[in-house]
């Protein structure tokens, strides 16, 4: 061994020794964080991980070419906006944020081996995993809702082609038609969303098809969000056009007849049915043991959104089992993504954890073409109960629907899309 070789070996030995002892050098090994699902939760988590921890290698796995916002998608139904206004391409998002984007679907999560198997057969390993699969529909709870019935009765509850289909079919109806909607039992994605939809279909009928009628069948005992504000709008704006019936749980669906029978008795036939099915955590979470609360939702630690089922796997967004009163909303998913990104950053860098995360929700609903209402809340982690608790005295509702809030609602959309996925449009 000559001197040069010895120096080289000694240098390597020093590096190894330091790497073994210093948390800072260990952090330099570029931890590999994989995010499954690029909705409001996953895209935000991926982006903020890169912000909070620029050395982390972040991979987003998302099969769709475009992000499409569910919030404001009800405005498509009367033609105020198009699908393009709600869409952002993942390609631009990935390159602008230094992310690797794998356009594929995840089949299995092997939490013991920290490895994913994709639909293409490819395997992807991770140091930390964030799962943001959204909701999936529990069709087994709707007897008769077979493939043909599903095609005939669009849910339009995942914004995209279904929303366009519902709009087109609504617009193709003759004046004098009967349209019917079904709202599933809570919890479901976006508590005020169905009532916003009812309002905007009401607006469409009032302006275009005033001899028609919308019947709203709600499986819940009452309007679940912004109740008085929606009731006031329906009474003052859509009297005789929108009729609301609570406690209407589905017993049987007959797609061929366009007819639905209810458990309380009675069958209703409509020219167009919009059936929003009962919901549970995304299929990926259900199939991989993450949905450990009633076999429907994913239990998490609200300090980090780490799964209560598997270590180093975090779950955010609509598929979590939230604390009482926590809505399943895009805004909440965005906030949860940031808390998870911060928690992972602090843990990997061996820095102090955030011990009292505070998150907020703001949810706008349009009730006419230009007027909107909101509900807001601030949630703070309680070390005592280990839950997120709505801060007393904070949050609240609009005093009344207004055009000013309509302007703020669209500003909210612009800003949260920029924050979540960026401003690059298709």
């Amino acid at each position: 061994m000559d001197r040069r070789q010895f120096v080289s070996l000694a240098a390597q030995a020093s590096v190894l020794a330091v790497a073994g002892s210093s948390p800072f050098l260990r952090a330099q090994s570029r931890p590999n964080v994989v995010v499954i699902g690029g909705g409001f939760g996953g895209a935000t988590a991926a982006r903020y991980l890169r912000k909070f921890y620029p050395q982390a290698q972040v991979t987003l796995i998302e099969p769709q070419p475009y992000f499409v916002s569910c919030p404001m998608s009800n405005r498509l139904l009367h033609g105020a906006i198009g699908l393009k206004d709600l869409s952002r391409p993942y390609a631009g998002f990935a390159s602008a944020n230094g992310l690797q984007w794998i356009q594929d679907r995840v089949n299995t999560i092997n939490a013991a081996k920290k490895e994913l198997t994709l639909a293409s057969g490819k395997r992807v390993s991770y140091d930390r995993l964030i799962v943001s699969p959204g909701v999936d529909f529990d069709y087994a709870a709707l007897p008769g809702m077979d493939a043909a019935a599903r095609a005939k009765m669009p849910h339009a509850w995942k914004a995209g082609q279904e929303t366009v289909a519902l709009r087109d079919r609504l617009h193709a109806l003759p004046d004098g038609a009967t349209i019917a909607m079904h709202i599933p039992k809570a919890p479901y994605r976006c508590p005020p969303g169905p009532y916003e939809r009812a309002s905007l279909i009401g607006y469409y009928l009032k302006s275009r098809k005033p001899k028609s009628k919308l019947l709203v069948f709600d499986a819940n005992p009452e309007i679940l969000s912004k109740k008085e504000l929606f009731q006031k709008t329906w009474k003052t704006q859509y009297s005789g056009l929108v009729e609301y019936l609570p406690n209407a749980d589905i017993a049987q669906v007959d797609g061929a007849q366009n007819e639905i029978e209810f458990k309380i008795g009675g069958k209703v036939k409509a020219d167009l049915w919009n059936v929003i099915p009962p919901q549970r955590a995304g299929e990926l979470a259900i199939n991989n043991g993450l949905a450990n609360v009633n076999n429907r939702w994913c239990g998490v630690d609200f300090l980090s959104y780490e799964s209560t089922a598997f270590q180093d796997v975090h779950v955010i967004g609509d598929s979590i089992s939230g604390s009482p009163g926590m809505p399943k909303s895009g805004h909440m998913a965005n906030q949860e993504g940031k808390v998870a990104a911060a928690a992972i950053t602090q843990e990997l860098l061996q820095l102090p954890a955030v011990t009292e995360p505070v998150i907020a929700n703001t949810c706008y609903s349009f009730v006419t073409k230009n007027d909107a209402i909101h509900v807001a809340a601030v949630y703070r982690y309680s070390a005592e109960t280990k839950q997120m608790v709505a801060v007393k005295g904070a949050g609240g509702l609009s005093d009344a629907a207004s055009t000013l809030e309509g302007v703020y609602a669209m500003a909210w959309l612009t800003n949260i899309l920029d924050d979540t996925i960026g401003s690059v449009t298709a």
Binding site: A11, A342, T414
Partner: protein
């Protein structure tokens, strides 16, 4: 012996280089900032934009002084300033948290 000295000297240089590496790169600047404030500010950005540079009337936080931001946030919290929604949000935070957020967003000109 001369060689050993040289080798030791080389090791010292490597050690020195490594310590510069640790100080300059491996100990990143964000590690020195408080994640409590960074995370809380991040949650504001959903509506108020990156660095508070939101689009839309009245939503921009950047370009304001710490005093101005603090006056508004505490005003919303106490109820002296009424907004459509901001007074409802501000009541969810402590005065100390709102002051820290004012300081954070005042750095973006």
């Amino acid at each position: 012996m001369v060689n050993v000295f040289k080798i030791t000297f080389s090791n010292l240089r490597i050690a020195a280089a490594l310590s510069i590496f640790c100080a300059g790169i491996a100990l990143p600047s964000y590690a020195q900032t408080d994640m409590n404030v960074r995370l809380m500010a991040a949650t504001c950005q959903s509506c108020h934009g990156k660095e508070g540079r939101a689009q839309g009337v009245g939503l921009r936080l950047s370009g304001q002084s710490e005093e101005e931001l603090e006056r508004k946030l505490l005003g919303y919290r106490s109820g002296q300033i009424k907004g459509t929604v901001m007074h409802q949000h501000a009541k969810g935070y402590t005065e100390a948290e709102l002051k820290a957020l004012a300081r954070h967003f005042a750095q973006f000109k």
